[in-house]
C-alpha cells in the first residue's frame, strides 16, 4: 500500500464555510459593513471595541480552544503589540505599517521565551507562568522610561493607507472589521489543516497524540505563538486607534475578559467565540443603566449563562 491514488481518495476536503452557514455569515457581514452608516458615534465606538475583542478572543481560542492550554496572561501579547507600535512610531518615527511585522516578531520571541520551557511541563504550569508573565509585562511597562511609565505613551502616529489617514471612529471601525475578518479566515484555514488537527489531537488525548507521532511540545508552542502573534497585531491597531496607551489597558482583568469571551461562546468553535467576544464587549454597555450594581449584574448574568449553558452559548459540536 503506497500513496498511490485510490477510489476512496474521492472524499473531498470540506469547504472553509458550510453552505448552510454561508448565508448567515454573509448577512452578518452586510450588517457589519452597513453599521456605521446608521449608528451614531457611540454605537460605532462600542462596535469597534467588540471587533477588537473578536480578534483577541479568536487568537486566545487557538491557545485555549484548539490546543487546550490555559493562558491567564494573554493581554501581555496585546501589550507587546500596542507598545511596539507606540514606541516605534512616537519615539523613532516609524511608519505604522512597518511596526506590525516588528510586533509580530516580538510576540513570537516572547512566546518562545515563555512557552518553550513551560510547555514541556504539565499543562497546569502554563496557567501559573502566563499569569506571572502578564503581570511582569504590565509592571515593566509601568517602570520603564521608554514605555512612558505609569502614564503611558501619547502621540502615537495614526496609520495612512495610500495617502488616506485613518482618523475617525468609522475608519477604525472598518480597520478592525477587516482585521476581524482576516482573523476568522486565518482561524478557519488553520483549524482544518495538519497543524490545526494536531492541536485537537493534543487537546483530546495528549498521550495518544504523542504515540501517533505528534510532537506535543512543538504543537503547543506553535499554538501559543500563533495566539501571541494575533494579539500583538490587535495591539498595534489598538495603539493607533487610541493614540495613547497606558499599562492599565493590559491588566489581569483584561486577560480574564478575553478568556471569558472564549469560554462564554463555546471554546473551540469560531462562531461561538465571535459571539462570546461581542457579548463581553457589549455587556458592560448594556448594563450601564445598572449604575453601581453593574459588576453584580454582570456577574449574575455570566453565572446564569454558565449554569444554563455550561458548554457555552454556541458550543463546539465536538463536545
Amino acid at each position: 500500500m503506497s500513496d498511490g491514488a485510490s477510489t476512496l481518495s474521492a472524499a473531498p476536503q470540506p469547504p472553509l464555510v458550510r453552505r448552510s452557514f454561508l448565508l448567515w455569515a454573509l448577512a452578518a457581514l452586510a450588517c457589519a459593513l452597513a453599521l456605521p452608516h446608521f449608528a451614531n458615534a457611540y454605537v460605532t465606538e462600542v462596535a469597534t471595541t467588540a471587533l477588537l475583542y473578536v480578534v483577541l478572543c479568536l487568537g486566545l481560542n487557538i491557545v485555549v480552544g484548539y490546543a487546550g492550554l490555559l493562558d491567564l496572561g494573554y493581554a501581555a501579547f496585546f501589550a507587546v503589540g500596542a507598545y511596539t507600535t507606540g514606541i516605534l512610531t512616537s519615539e523613532f518615527g516609524f511608519n505604522f505599517w512597518l511596526t506590525i511585522p516588528v510586533a509580530m516578531a516580538a510576540a513570537c520571541l516572547a512566546g518562545i521565551i515563555i512557552g518553550a520551557p513551560t510547555l514541556r511541563l504539565r499543562s497546569d504550569y502554563l496557567a501559573i507562568v502566563t499569569l506571572g508573565f502578564g503581570e511582569i509585562v504590565r509592571i515593566i511597562a509601568r517602570n520603564l522610561d521608554i514605555t512612558g511609565g505609569a502614564s503611558g505613551l501619547v502621540g502615537i502616529e495614526r496609520p495612512e493607507i495610500l495617502g488616506f489617514k485613518l482618523m475617525q471612529v468609522q475608519h477604525f471601525y472598518y480597520a478592525f472589521l477587516a482585521l476581524a475578518l482576516l482573523a476568522v479566515f486565518v482561524c478557519l484555514s488553520v483549524e482544518r489543516s495538519r497543524m490545526g488537527r494536531a492541536w485537537f489531537y493534543v487537546r483530546y488525548d495528549e498521550d495518544a497524540a504523542a504515540g501517533i507521532g505528534i510532537n506535543r511540545v512543538s504543537a503547543k508552542l506553535q499554538a501559543y505563538m500563533m495566539g501571541a502573534v494575533i494579539a500583538s497585531v490587535a495591539g498595534c491597531l489598538y495603539a493607533a486607534k487610541m493614540t495613547a496607551i497606558s499599562p492599565e489597558s493590559f491588566t489581569f482583568n483584561q486577560s480574564l475578559l478575553i478568556l471569558l469571551g472564549v469560554v462564554l461562546g463555546g471554546m473551540g468553535r469560531i462562531p461561538g467565540v465571535v459571539l462570546g467576544a461581542i457579548l463581553v464587549a457589549l455587556l458592560p454597555e448594556v448594563l450601564r443603566g445598572a449604575g453601581t450594581y453593574r459588576p453584580l449584574v454582570t456577574a449574575v448574568a455570566l453565572l446564569a449563562i454558565m449554569l444554563f449553558r455550561p458548554n457555552g452559548l454556541w458550543p463546539d459540536k465536538r463536545g
Partner: protein, 254 residues
C-alpha cells in the same frame, strides 16, 4: 539482522522491578506475541519501546538504529507504531480525522502554508485524507468515516486504533491486547486482519494478548513474561510445552 532488538532492558518504579534484563528480538515480517499473567510487565515493555517510559538500562534497536530514550513522536516517525490496551481514540473527532492523525509524521506543511492555501499544502491535505480513507477501508470501517469516533461500536473502535497506527506507515506495529472485549466472531475477524496487515502491507506485528487460542493461532514466535522476567521464548509448540510457562501462566488459565 532483526527488525526490533531489545537487549538487557531494565525498568523499575521505586523499588518495584517491572522489567528485569529483558532481551528478545523480532524478525522483519514476523507476527510475534508477548504473553504473561496480569502485571507481568507487558504493557510497560511496550511503553519503553515507544518512548513513554525511560528504561533504567539496556538498549532498544529498530532496524539496527538505537531508539532507547527517544521521545514517542520520534520513535513513531522512525517506523514503530502502537495501539493502546484501553482504547485511546480522539473520541470527539471524526473517524476519518482519527485515521488521518497517523499521517502527521509523514507530512510537513505548517501554519503559514495553511493560511496561504498553497497548492502544495492542498495536495498534501488530499494525500493525508486519501491515506486516512484507505486505512479505514483496509480495516473495514470506511463507511463510518464521518461519524464521531466515540460513537463507534467497541469492535470498530479497536479497528480504528489499528487504522490510525497503520496510517503512520510503520515498519512494525505493537498491539496491546487487541482482542480484549471482542466476541468470538470479532476475534476471528481480528486474526484475519492481523494476517492481512503482515501479508498485504509487510508490516511486522508484535502483539500482547491474553486469549491463548488467538495467540497460538497467529504467532510464529511467543515471548513469555512473568514478574518482569522473560521465562520463555520460542514457537507456540515449544512455549506450550515449556514447564515454566505451564506453571507460571498456562496452568492458571482455563
Amino acid at each position: 539482522m532483526a527488525l526490533l532488538e531489545v537487549r538487557d532492558l531494565r525498568l523499575s518504579f521505586g523499588g518495584l522491578k517491572v522489567l528485569q534484563d529483558i532481551s528478545f528480538s523480532v524478525e522483519k515480517g514476523a507476527i510475534n506475541s508477548l504473553i504473561g499473567p496480569n502485571g507481568a510487565g507487558k504493557t510497560s515493555l511496550f511503553n519503553c519501546l515507544t518512548g513513554f517510559y525511560k528504561p533504567k538500562g539496556g538498549s532498544i534497536r529498530l532496524g539496527g538504529r538505537p531508539i532507547t530514550g527517544l521521545p514517542p513522536h520520534r520513535i513513531t516517525a522512525l517506523g514503530l507504531a502502537r495501539t493502546f490496551q484501553n482504547i485511546r481514540l480522539f473520541k470527539e473527532m471524526s473517524v476519518l480525522e482519527n485515521a488521518m492523525s497517523g499521517q502527521h509524521c509523514r507530512s510537513r506543511h505548517g501554519i503559514v502554508s495553511a493560511i496561504l492555501h498553497l497548492p502544495s499544502q492542498r495536495r498534501e491535505e488530499d494525500r493525508i485524507r486519501a491515506a486516512g480513507m484507505r486505512w479505514l477501508d483496509f480495516v473495514g470501517i470506511a463507511e463510518h468515516a464521518h461519524r464521531l469516533a466515540g460513537g463507534l461500536s467497541y469492535g470498530d473502535q479497536r479497528r480504528l486504533e489499528l487504522a490510525r497506527a497503520l496510517a503512520s506507515t510503520p515498519e512494525i506495529i505493537l498491539l496491546d491486547e487487541p482482542a480484549a472485549g471482542l466476541n468470538e466472531r470479532e476475534k476471528l475477524d481480528l486474526v484475519h486482519l492481523i494476517r492481512r496487515i503482515r501479508d498485504e502491507t509487510g508490516v511486522t506485528v508484535l502483539l500482547i494478548e491474553h486469549d491463548m487460542g488467538l495467540v497460538m493461532q497467529v504467532s510464529e514466535k511467543i515471548v513469555v513474561f512473568d514478574y518482569g522476567q522473560k521465562i520463555a521464548d520460542g514457537t507456540p509448540e515449544a512455549v506450550r510445552a515449556d514447564p515454566k510457562v505451564i506453571e507460571a501462566y498456562l496452568g492458571t488459565e482455563d
